[in-house]
Structures are given as structure tokens and as C-alpha cells.
Symmetry: C2
Subunit: 336 residues, 2 copies
Amino acid sequence: MLCKDIYSALTPVLARYDSEQVCVVCDANVSFESPYPTLTLAVSEQNKSLERVSRIWDFFFEHGLTRRGVVIAVGGGVLTDIAGFAAATYKRGVDYINIPTTLLAMVDASSGGKTGINYHGLKNSIGAFAPPVDTLIWPGWLKTLPVHEFLSGYGEMLKTGLLNTKLWPQFLQYDLDTMDLEALTPLIEQCLAVKGRIVAADPRDSGRRKVLNLGHTFGHALEEISMQNATDSHPMPHGYAVVYGLIAEVYLSVIKTHCPKEPLQQLTQLMLHYYGKPQCKCSDRERLIALMQQDKKNERTAEINCTLLRSVGSPLINQVISPDEASEAFDFLFSL
Amino acid sequence: MLCKDIYSALTPVLARYDSEQVCVVCDANVSFESPYPTLTLAVSEQNKSLERVSRIWDFFFEHGLTRRGVVIAVGGGVLTDIAGFAAATYKRGVDYINIPTTLLAMVDASSGGKTGINYHGLKNSIGAFAPPVDTLIWPGWLKTLPVHEFLSGYGEMLKTGLLNTKLWPQFLQYDLDTMDLEALTPLIEQCLAVKGRIVAADPRDSGRRKVLNLGHTFGHALEEISMQNATDSHPMPHGYAVVYGLIAEVYLSVIKTHCPKEPLQQLTQLMLHYYGKPQCKCSDRERLIALMQQDKKNERTAEINCTLLRSVGSPLINQVISPDEASEAFDFLFSL
């Protein structure tokens, strides 16, 4: 739910719980004042691990949190994914509230009930479906968001835009040079409405929800390679990977399912103008393809399953891609 | 479901899955032949840990198990609890089938959807509600079950018996000296039917299902202390702890909720004849009470919440016990 003030939005949600049974898990780079016990955690895709989950469980035990209590998760998508998984498995599940503080977390991670951690370098490969009792979205957090994080969130919005004929032209019109929050707020709202309808129809990701995976089969592989390759602490932001994945998958849509070329050109322009080219080498291609064959979205071992487009607003789920086709899509992406 | 042969019972259940997408997790002391990849695991209450869960996840990844696959868990309750939790969190949840091989697992762990591990010495304090797609019960496994494991399972059956006026006299009549399987089978079936009705009405243990916790508030604490105290690998079997817990809680039922003394006398006789006295010292009392205050069944911090009886067949949930009352119940139990 969009709100103008986090504290006044929290009050009615917390009224359902004993005030001694509230624990906060807060991202280290966010400031969130509250009277409740708070665990501040530095998180990243690299340490989105079982070890962080254990830290959170320990904190819950120390504060005597019972199953009737509630956890408030404040931060980006990595934080809300980890804290959500810790809450989902603590004493077989305690309620939690998400307060996403990045654009990516607002439009993606914080709603829909997917929680989890990375395991053996595979993104979100251990986790649970456990929706938060509420998600409070305050666009004010975005005023101080670094530009690359803003763009990362917008990459995920672009994906949702491609699923809806009304949204896509609005998303192309939004001015990424000024990043005006007032103009962005109704777009966030529409994004959440589109996602909410899809998730409600298929909460466990077995059918229709797969349309939300557009861009993510190739995107996840690029992100994982980047995590493995990154020598510093700055691998590819998730939403950048989604933009690159969208280009690869819309390219395949053009050649396999007769999608018009226009959205591919529009995406390519946005990428070149704002996101830059992916930092991957052609020699990564084999590892990328192997990673896609391990993707949890696959229905069979070693098969690459992805969502393609017939056109903007008309996604096609469960499209099987051959390794040669995958290779060709990477060639296209890396040649831009 | 009760079956006469595991393999013919499995066939229709497995027909729903790709035969290359079946993984077996099998208790080290059980022999189970199948054409599927099998991980054999030695498990116990002491190593019912995150480390075992990781072993199972690794095995699933090695064999390329996808979300459309299925896991067969074969073994006692510790094995099915760990494997069920691993399945529930692998790629946010893969189907699993339980094949319980001990009486305790048949009547308790393998149905009802509770999965989990011990954490910081607290039983099942990390876990998930994730029911198996099927539970196949073949009483033939019990022919070679050690006597103390048989008695442990029967302890859990006694608890279910106390919840039902028709079952209780049948359970008292069953001859524990001969342990005849043919006479036992209909009792297992009735036990599962009683449990099934209760779980269906409250799958997440927030209300009516708490009647199944009878004996478990005191029982879990005794079991945890025994795990902490055990210098060898033989702590108190779960069902023994339940019998001791039932005695403590039925004692409290007599003094607090006017339960007749008869079931307390019947339980005490069974205990002295078959189970022996609990291996706990009066000096453990303070630690036992502290453990009960940490129990995940509690609704508030530091409160001891338990299920008592008004009479056989009439359980009362959410009864709050003071530390003094808990102490008195332990005195009674330790003085027998």
C-alpha cells in the first residue's frame, strides 16, 4: 500500500500485535527509528546467505519473539527477501511487514510472497512462498536513492510495462533524466496493481505468474556470472540484468514468436542511453547457458524455459529455448 | 494412507511426475530399494540440524531436481522432518512423499505438515508448514523395530487416545507385552483419522490443533534437557518424553481443571510398567521451566502455555501455567 508517512501507516497494522512482540530487521544503509528491538544488517547479493538468516533467527530468539509476534523488514530487496525467509521459517512462520526502501524492492521483491537466499551462487534457490501481512510503500525513501539503484528498479518496471499495452507507452515517456518522484508514484502504483493481479491468480508460480519471469531467465544468468566474476563488491544490479535479459528474450521473441521489432529497438535505446552495455565476455557464454539450464523455473533438467512475447501485452510462458538459440541471443546482446 | 505394499502404493503417486525427477532421502538404518538417486543419511535428534538440510539441498542440486520433481522421504520422524523441510525450501518448495518406517513417524511426524529442525537445542524451532503430497504407511516396517522405538510411538498414540473417549479404552487394552501388529493396525488408522480431522480444521496450529500439544509442553522440555545432558547418543526417545509430559499435564489437569484422577493413574501404571522413570534430576527443574518459557507454542514471552484436560476426550487449549505450578508437576513426576 502506498503511504504518505511510514509511521502513521504502521500504527493500524501493528495494532493487531502485542507491542512487546515486534522485532525490526533493518538494512544497514537505511535509518529507521522505532521503539522496537532492531537488528541492523549489512546485506548484499553476495552475502544473501544462510549465515545472514541464522543471524536473524538468533536475534528473534534473543528477544523471545513468539509465533504471535511480527517482524518489520526495512530495506532493499535483498534485506526483505532474507528477513522474509527468516520470518517464514522461525517457529514455522511468524508474520512480517515489508517496508521497501529502494525502487526495486517497492515494485518487485516486497510484494508477491517470494522470499529466499542465494545458495551455491544460484539466485534465490532456497526459499519459501510467504507473503508479508502488509507492504508499506513510501516514495520518500527514493529521494536519496543512488542513480544506479533507481535505474535498477526501473528495469524491473520496464518488464512489467512490457506485459501491459497501456503501461508500456507511459513507461517509455517517463523522463529518466529528471527522475521526478511525483510522476513516478502513479507508475509504481500501476506496476503493483498489474503484479498483484497476476500473483493473485497464481501465488505459487506454477502457471500464469510465469509471465513475470520475462527477462529473468537470461537476466538471472547474467547476474550470477557477474556475482562470480566480480572482484569488487559491485556486481551487476538486478534491474540492469533484467534489462539485458529483456533484450535477449525480446530478441528471441522477434525471431521465434513473431514479436514486432519496435519494443526491442525501444529497449536497446534505453539500455544504451541509461544502463550501458553488460560487462560480460563472449567467453562467458557457455557458463551462462549452463546456469540457465539449472534455473529453478525449468520444468525438466537441462531445459531452458523462458517467457517470450507475441507482442507488448501478450506474453507466452513455458517457451523452450535451445542452447543454440540462447547463444544467438547472447551474441545479439553482446554486439550492441 | 495404510498400504499392504510400499512399491505398489508408490506407483500411482509417482505417475504424476517425470521419472527423472524423483529423489529419495533415506534413513541410514532403513533399507529401501528403488531405481532413483538416493541419499542415505544418518540422523538423530542431535544432528537434526541445518547442516543436514544443506546436505539434502546439495543432493537435490547435484541431481538437477526441478520444482516439478518429487522427493521421497523414507525413515523415522527425524528423517521425514528434515527431508520435508529441505523439500519445502528447495527452490521455494518441491513436492514430497513420506514413507514413515517407525511407529512414531507413522502416527505423528509423517502427517500434518509440520517440518523442521532443532536450533540452539530448541526442538523444531526452525521449520515450515508443508504437508507431503502423500504419506504411505506400511505396518510391515514395524516387525524389526526395536522395543524402545515401538514404545516411543505408542506414547504419541496414548496422547491421541486421551483426546477421544472411544480410543482411550482401546489403547489401554492393547497388549504392549506382545506388540501384535495385526491388532495395532486399526489403532494406527484411528489415530491418523483423529489427527487428520484436527489438522484439517486448523492446519497452522493457531487454534484447535493445539489439542495435539497435550503432553508436549512438559515433554519437549524434558526431551531438550535430555539432549543437553546426554553424554552418549541415547537421549530420551520423543514418545517417552510425551508419556512423562502427559503425566505432568494430566496431574495439572486434576488440580486445575478438575480432571478425574483415573487417566492419571492409568498413565502412571503404563509408565512404571513399560517406560521407566524419567532420567532427570530435581536440580534440572529451573532449566526445564526456562525451556518451557521459550516454547514456540507460547503466545507471549516467558509464559508457559499448555493443553490440559477437563476429562478424557475434552481437551482445553491455551492454559497458562505458573512457574510454581510447573515446578509442582515436575515434583509429582519425579517422585513416582
